[in-house]
C-alpha cells in the first residue's frame, strides 16, 4: 500500500488561517480520493507559516472497479435520442453505424464495448435501453493529480488573491508543489502542472537559516530533513516548545509567564523555528496598570507578559523570534526592547494625560461624549448616559442598590470611552474606567460598576453581583434593547450587529442569577420604548394646552402625563384620545392622533421585545436541561414578564414532571381534559358550576372530592406565596385519586345528573392544574 506526501509551499500564510487550511486540505483531498474509489488508512495534515502539508498512508494503488447502470430512452424512440444516449456513453460513430447498432438492439442483441454493454429490457410495456458501465481501475497517481488540482483551484481560503500575470488564486503566491507517491520501489513524483507550477519532490527549509532546496523520499524523511533545515513541521510541537522554553526561562528568575492560549497558537503560526527570548520592560513603565502593559505588548508586539508572583506586577516579556543568530538573539532582543519602549512611552503618555483628567473629575470626557454618536437614530453617548442614569436610579431598589450611587455610577461608567487609553486600546474600556473612577476619588462601588456594567458579555462570562454594578448593567442593556426595538433594528437570522441577543441573555442572567424582581417589566419596557419613539411630557403638555377648553380631553391629557404607562392604560387612553380627538379639528386632532399612535406602537413593540426575551429564556433554560414545552407552559401563565418567577416556575414544573407522580398526573390531567373538552364541545356548555359531593357514588369518586379540596387548600396559598414547589407537589399528589377515579368510574354515565356532576369534577381538576401552569402545552 503506497503512502502519499503533499506539500504546498507558498509565501507567508496568515497565522490565523493555518490550522483551518491544513484541515481543509486533508478533507478536500481525502474526500476526493475516496469518491474516486481509493481507500487510505490514515491522514494527517500540518501547517507552518510557509507550507501546508498532507501525509496519507496505506493508500490503495489503484481505484476499485466501479460499476454504474444508466437507463436510456425506449429503443424505438426517436433515433436522435437513442443516438444521443449512446454518444453519452462514449460510443462514437457515423450515422449509419448508429443505425446498425440501433437495429441490432431492436433485435435483442447486446452491444458490448470495453468492459461495458448496452441491452434492452421490458419496462412498463416498452423496450428500454439499459447500459451497464464498468470502469476499469485507475492508478492512484492519476486520481491524486486530478483531486489535488481540484483542491488547489477550489480551496476555501477566507480571502485569496492573484499574483503576477496568473489567474490562480491562493492565500499568498504559491511557489512549489511537492507531491510524491511512495511504495516499496521508492518515491515517484505525481505529475501536476497548475498554471505553470509543476510538482516535484523537493522543498526548502527555513527562509534564512536553510534556504536551499532539498529532495525527500517519504514523510519521515521529509519531517527529519525539515528539522535539519530549521523547520518544525507540527504547530503543536512549536507551541509546546515555546511554552516550555518560556516558562523555564521565567522560572529561573522566579517569574511566571501569563498564560494566553490564543496568543500561543498565533505565535506558533508566525514561526517555523521558534526561538524564545526573555526581555526587560523599562523601569519607567512598571507603574502602568498590568492590563495596559499586557494589552500593549500583546496587541502590538505579540509578546507574552511575564509576571512576578510576589508583586503581581508584569516585569518582563517573552518574544518569540524565528531566527537563530551568532549573538544568541542579543540584537533581536535589543531591537524588540526598543520597539516596546516606544510603544509603552505612548501608553504612559496616554495614562498620564488620562490621570490628569480623571483626577479633575472627568468632566471634559463627559462633555465630549456629547459629540460621539451612539447611533444616528438614538442620539449621542451623552444622551444615552442620561437615559441610563435615570433608569439605573429607578432599577436600583429592585436590586438592592443605593439609587444615588447607581445614578452616579451610570453617569461616569462610559467616561473612559473618551480617554486616550481606550481610544488606543478599545478592549480596555471599562477596566480603565475603574482605574480612572478610583483616581477621581469616587466610591468603590461606582468604580467597580464602571468595569462590571458591560458584563456578562459571553455565556461563560461572570455575572456581576455588586448591586450598583447590577443596576447599571441592567440599565445599560435595557436602554440598548428598547432603543433598537424602537428604531426597528432587531436581530434577524444570523445578523445581530448590535449584539442584542447577548444583551438579552445578559439581562436574564443578571436578573435570575441574583433572584431580582423587576416590577411591571412589560410596562417598563413599553414606557422606555415610548420615550425612544419621542413620546414626551412636552408633547403631552402641548396637547393639554391645546385642549384646556375641552373637559374630557384635558382629563385624558393630565392622566397621560401623571403616571407611568402600562399597556392597559395605553390602550384605554388610546381609545379615549381617538374618540375624543376624532371629533375635534386642527392641531389637537393631529397631536392627539400622534400620541395615540406612539402609545399603540410602543405597546406592540414591548410585547414583541418581551417575546424575544422569552425566546432567549428558552435557549438559556434548555442549556440547564429544561425542555422548551415546560417553559411554554409557564410563559402561558400571567406574570410572564417577571423573569425570576418564570424561571422558578419552570424549574419547579420540570422537577415535578420528572417524578413518577408528576408524569402520571400529567396523563390524568390530559385524560380529564380530553373527556371534558369533548363533552363541552358536544353539549355546547362549559362545565364549571362546581361538582357536588352528594351525587358522588363510588368511593374513588368521593376520595377525589376530598383530594381536590385538600389540594385547593394547599395550592392556593402556596401560589400566592410563589411557592411553586409546594403547589406542584400538592398537584402531583392528585395523581393517585385521579388514577383510582378513572379506573373505577365511567364519566359518561347514562344518568345525566351523575354525568354532569362528574364532568364538573373533571373541571375542578383542570382548574387546579391550570392554576399552576398551562399543562396543555406539555408534550407527550
Amino acid at each position: 500500500m503506497p503512502d502519499l506526501l503533499i506539500e504546498l509551499f507558498s509565501e507567508e500564510i496568515p497565522a490565523r488561517m493555518q490550522t483551518r487550511a491544513a484541515d481543509d486540505l486533508r478533507k478536500l483531498v481525502t474526500d476526493g480520493l475516496v469518491e474516486a474509489g481509493l481507500t487510505y488508512a490514515g491522514a494527517a495534515a500540518f501547517s507552518t507559516p510557509r507550507r501546508l502539508t498532507l501525509s496519507l498512508d496505506g493508500l490503495s494503488a489503484e481505484s476499485a472497479v466501479f460499476k454504474e447502470e444508466k437507463k436510456g430512452p425506449p429503443v424505438d424512440a426517436n433515433p436522435k435520442a437513442v443516438q444521443g444516449f449512446l454518444r453519452g456513453l462514449g460510443l462514437e460513430g457515423t450515422d449509419s453505424w448508429y443505425a446498425s447498432q440501433i437495429d441490432a438492439l431492436k433485435n435483442g442483441e447486446v452491444l458490448n464495448f470495453d468492459s461495458s454493454f448496452v441491452t434492452t429490457q421490458e419496462l412498463k410495456g416498452k423496450r428500454v435501453l439499459f447500459a451497464t458501465l464498468e470502469y476499469p481501475p485507475r492508478p492512484a497517481a492519476d486520481i491524486i493529480a486530478e483531486v489535488l488540482e481540484n483542491a488547489i483551484r477550489n480551496f476555501p481560503w477566507p480571502k485569496s488573491m492573484r499574483w503576477g500575470s496568473g489567474t490562480l488564486k491562493w492565500v499568498r503566491p504559491l511557489h512549489t508543489i511537492l507531491c510524491i507517491l511512495i511504495d516499496e520501489a521508492g518515491a515517484e513524483v505525481v505529475p501536476l502542472d497548475i498554471d505553470g507550477i509543476t510538482s516535484g519532490n523537493t522543498t526548502r527549509g527555513h527562509r534564512f537559516l536553510a534556504p536551499d532546496v532539498f529532495s525527500v523520499t517519504s514523510f519521515d524523511d521529509y519531517e527529519v530533513k525539515l528539522k535539519r533545515a530549521k523547520v518544525v513541521l507540527r504547530a503543536d510541537e512549536r507551541a509546546e516548545a515555546i511554552w516550555s522554553d518560556a516558562t523555564t526561562q521565567a522560572f529561573a528568575l522566579g517569574l511566571e509567564v501569563v498564560e494566553d492560549r490564543g496568543l500561543l497558537a498565533e505565535v506558533a503560526g508566525l514561526v517555523e523555528w521558534p526561538v524564545v527570548l526573555l526581555g526587560r520592560i523599562g523601569d519607567d513603565f512598571l507603574g502602568l496598570p498590568p492590563e495596559v502593559l499586557q494589552t500593549s505588548m500583546k496587541e502590538h508586539q505579540k509578546f507574552f507578559s511575564v509576571r512576578n508572583p510576589k508583586t503581581n506586577r508584569i516585569e518582563r516579556f517573552v518574544t518569540v523570534a524565528n531566527m537563530e543568530t551568532a549573538d544568541q538573539g542579543a540584537t533581536i532582543l535589543a531591537g524588540n526592547q526598543k520597539v516596546l519602549a516606544a510603544r509603552l512611552a505612548d501608553a504612559k503618555f496616554f495614562w498620564e494625560n488620562d490621570l490628569r483628567v480623571a483626577k479633575a473629575g472627568m468632566d471634559p470626557w463627559l462633555d465630549s461624549l456629547a459629540n460621539v454618536t451612539f447611533h444616528n437614530k438614538l442620539g449621542s453617548q451623552k444622551d444615552r448616559i442620561e437615559r441610563i442614569a435615570a433608569l439605573a436610579r429607578e432599577i436600583a431598589p429592585s436590586v438592592g442598590a443605593d439609587p444615588d450611587l447607581a445614578e452616579q455610577a451610570a453617569r461616569v461608567a462610559k467616561a473612559d470611552l473618551s480617554s486616550e487609553m481606550v481610544y488606543e486600546f478599545p478592549e480596555l474600556q471599562g477596566l480603565m474606567g475603574r482605574y480612572y473612577a478610583t483616581e477621581a476619588g469616587l466610591p468603590a462601588e461606582v468604580a467597580a460598576a464602571c468595569e462590571e456594567h458591560y458584563s456578562p458579555l459571553g455565556p461563560s462570562d461572570d455575572v456581576p453581583t455588586a448591586p450598583v454594578s447590577v443596576a447599571v448593567a441592567l440599565a445599560d442593556k435595557i436602554d440598548t434593547l428598547t432603543g433598537f426595538w424602537a428604531i426597528d433594528e432587531k436581530p434577524t437570522g444570523s445578523k445581530d450587529p448590535f449584539a442584542l441577543r447577548r444583551a438579552v441573555l445578559g439581562i436574564i442572567r443578571l436578573i435570575t442569577g441574583g433572584d431580582h424582581r423587576l416590577q411591571s417589566f412589560h410596562s417598563h419596557l413599553m414606557a422606555l420604548i415610548a420615550d425612544h419613539l419621542g413620546y414626551s411630557d412636552q408633547e403631552v403638555e402641548q396637547l393639554k394646552e391645546l385642549m384646556t377648553q375641552l373637559e374630557n380631553v384635558s382629563d385624558i391629557a393630565s392622566e397621560l402625563s401623571s403616571n407611568r404607562l402600562t399597556p392597559e392604560k395605553a390602550k384605554y387612553l388610546t381609545d379615549q384620545l381617538r374618540s375624543e380627538v376624532g371629533r375635534k379639528k386642527g392641531e389637537a386632532q393631529v397631536l392627539g392622533e400622534q400620541i395615540a399612535t406612539k402609545l399603540q406602537t410602543a405597546d406592540q413593540m414591548a410585547s414583541d421585545l418581551l417575546s424575544f426575551f422569552h425566546d432567549r429564556l428558552k435557549v438559556f433554560l434548555k442549556d440547564k436541561g429544561i425542555r422548551h414545552d415546560i417553559i411554554d407552559a409557564c410563559i402561558a401563565m400571567p406574570g410572564n414578564d417577571d423573569l425570576t418567577l418564570l424561571v422558578k416556575r419552570a424549574e419547579a414544573l420540570a422537577a415535578t414532571l420528572a417524578t413518577d407522580d408528576g408524569e402520571n398526573l400529567l396523563q390524568g390531567f390530559k385524560r380529564a381534559n380530553n373527556i371534558l373538552t369533548q363533552a363541552e364541545e358536544k353539549d355546547g356548555v362549559e362545565y364549571s358550576y362546581g361538582a357536588d359531593l352528594k351525587f358522588a357514588e363510588d368511593p374513588s369518586e368521593k376520595a377525589l372530592f376530598e383530594a381536590l379540596d385538600a389540594a385547593d387548600a394547599k395550592i392556593a396559598p402556596a401560589m400566592a406565596n410563589e411557592d411553586f414547589s409546594t403547589a406542584m407537589t400538592a398537584m402531583a399528589a392528585l395523581r393517585g385519586p385521579i388514577d383510582a377515579f378513572f379506573n373505577t368510574v365511567q364519566v359518561n354515565d347514562e344518568r345525566q345528573v351523575v354525568r354532569r356532576n362528574r364532568l364538573n369534577l373533571l373541571s375542578r381538576i383542570r382548574k387546579i392544574c391550570l392554576s399552576v401552569a398551562d399543562l396543555n402545552k406539555i408534550e407527550g
Binding site: 509565501e11 507567508e12 496568515p14 497565522a15 490565523r16 507559516p49 480571502k159 485569496s160 488573491m161 492573484r162 499574483w163 503576477g164 500575470s165 496568473g166 492565500v171 499568498r172 503566491p173 511557489h175 534564512f208 508566525l270 514561526v271 508586539q301 518574544t319 523570534a321 524565528n322 531566527m323 543568530t325 551568532a326 549573538d327 538573539g329 540584537t331 533581536i332 535589543a334 531591537g335 524588540n336 526598543k338 520597539v339 516596546l340 516606544a342 512611552a345 459629540n371 460621539v372 454618536t373 444616528n376
Partner: protein, 306 residues
C-alpha cells in the same frame, strides 16, 4: 559585516541605487500634497491595465492629524515614504525586497525578519490588496501588498507594491531614538545637518496651521471646487477639437482627486468633520478615484488599444 549607512539621505540613496539596479525607473516625487506614496499616479493609475511597469520613488507625504509640533520621537505631519511598484509582480518579489534591506545595512542573519499578515485597503481609492507588514525585530519596517483592485477595477496583472516608512526605518538602522536627532546628511560633513535642523521648525509651523489656523470655509470650498473640476475634466469629450486626437485627461482629473483627498485630511485635522460626515466625504473622494480609474483604462497607458 555589512557596511552600514550613516545618514538618512544615504539610506534613501542606497534604496534608489538598489531598485535602479533591479530595473526600476527611478521617478521623482509627485508635485502635489498626498497622504501616502500610493497616491502618486505612478502607483494608483499605473497599477491599472495590462502594461508592464516598474517604478520606484521617494514621496513626501502629509498626514495633518499626525502633527506633534516636532516633539514626538516618531510622529510627523510631513514625512517620507519610499515606494516601489512592479507589475506584474515578479515571482521573487519577497527576495528582491529582502535584498533592499540588505542594501541599507540590515543583515538578515542577525535580525528577525517576519512577514505578518496585513491586508491593505484604501477606502478613498476604492482599492485593496493582500500582503504583510514586514517586521524587523518586532518593528514594522515596510508594507508589502499584492494589489487586487484599484478604483474598483481588478488589477490584471497584479502589481506588487512596497512601501517603506523612511524615517522610522532609518531611525532603526541608524540607532536613533528621536527623529529630530537623526543625521540627515553625512555626520562628518563640514555642515552636518540633523533631521531636526531641516524639519523641526516646519513641523511646528504646520502643526499650528493644520490644527488651528487653516481656514475651514476656504478648505471646504477647495474640496467642492476640486470635486467639480475633476468631474468637469472627465466629462469633456474624448476627442480634442483642437488637435483632432483622442485625449482622455485621466491625469489632470486625478490631480483634482488628490487635491480633494488632501483637503479632506486637512479638514479632518481641523476637527470639523463629524463621524457621520466622514464616511460621506470618503465616499465622495472614492467616487472621484473610481471615475479617474475608469478614464485611465481608456487611455493607451491604461492598456486601451491606441
Amino acid at each position: 559585516m555589512i557596511d552600514k549607512p550613516r545618514s538618512f539621505q544615504e539610506i534613501i540613496l542606497r534604496l534608489q541605487t538598489y531598485w535602479a539596479a533591479q530595473g526600476c525607473a527611478i521617478l521623482q516625487p509627485y508635485d502635489m500634497e498626498v497622504g501616502a506614496g500610493t497616491f502618486h499616479p505612478a502607483t494608483t493609475l499605473r497599477a491599472l491595465g495590462d502594461k508592464p511597469w516598474a517604478a520606484a520613488y521617494v514621496q513626501p507625504s502629509r498626514r495633518p492629524t499626525d502633527g506633534r509640533y516636532g516633539e514626538n520621537p516618531n510622529r510627523l505631519q510631513h514625512y517620507y515614504q519610499y515606494q516601489v511598484l512592479i507589475k506584474p509582480s515578479p515571482p521573487a518579489m519577497q527576495d528582491l525586497y529582502l535584498g533592499s534591506l540588505k542594501a541599507i545595512g540590515i543583515d538578515a542573519t542577525m535580525h528577525d525578519i517576519r512577514f505578518v499578515e496585513d491586508d491593505w485597503e484604501s477606502p478613498t481609492l476604492g482599492a485593496w490588496g493582500l500582503g504583510w507588514e514586514v517586521w524587523c525585530d518586532g518593528m514594522e519596517v515596510s508594507q508589502f501588498t499584492y494589489f487586487q483592485q484599484v478604483g474598483g477595477h481588478d488589477c490584471k496583472p497584479v502589481a506588487g507594491e512596497l512601501t517603506y516608512g523612511l524615517e522610522r526605518l532609518a531611525m532603526y538602522v541608524l540607532g536613533v531614538d528621536h527623529v529630530m536627532d537623526m543625521p540627515f546628511n553625512d555626520p562628518d560633513a563640514p555642515i552636518a545637518l540633523k533631521y531636526g535642523d531641516v524639519f523641526q521648525q516646519t513641523e511646528q509651523e504646520y502643526s499650528r496651521w493644520n490644527f488651528d489656523i487653516a481656514d475651514t470655509d476656504v478648505l471646504l470650498q477647495h474640496f467642492v471646487d476640486a470635486e467639480a473640476e475633476c468631474q468637469r475634466i472627465l466629462d469633456a469629450p474624448a476627442v480634442d477639437p483642437k488637435t483632432g486626437r483622442k485625449i482622455i485627461m485621466a491625469h489632470p482629473a486625478y490631480d483634482q482627486c488628490i487635491k480633494a483627498s488632501h483637503v479632506f485630511n486637512l479638514l479632518d485635522a481641523r476637527g470639523v468633520i463629524s463621524v457621520t460626515e466622514r464616511q460621506a466625504y470618503i465616499g465622495r473622494v472614492r467616487n472621484l478615484a473610481k471615475a479617474c480609474a475608469d478614464a485611465f483604462v481608456q487611455t493607451p497607458a491604461g492598456g486601451a488599444a491606441a
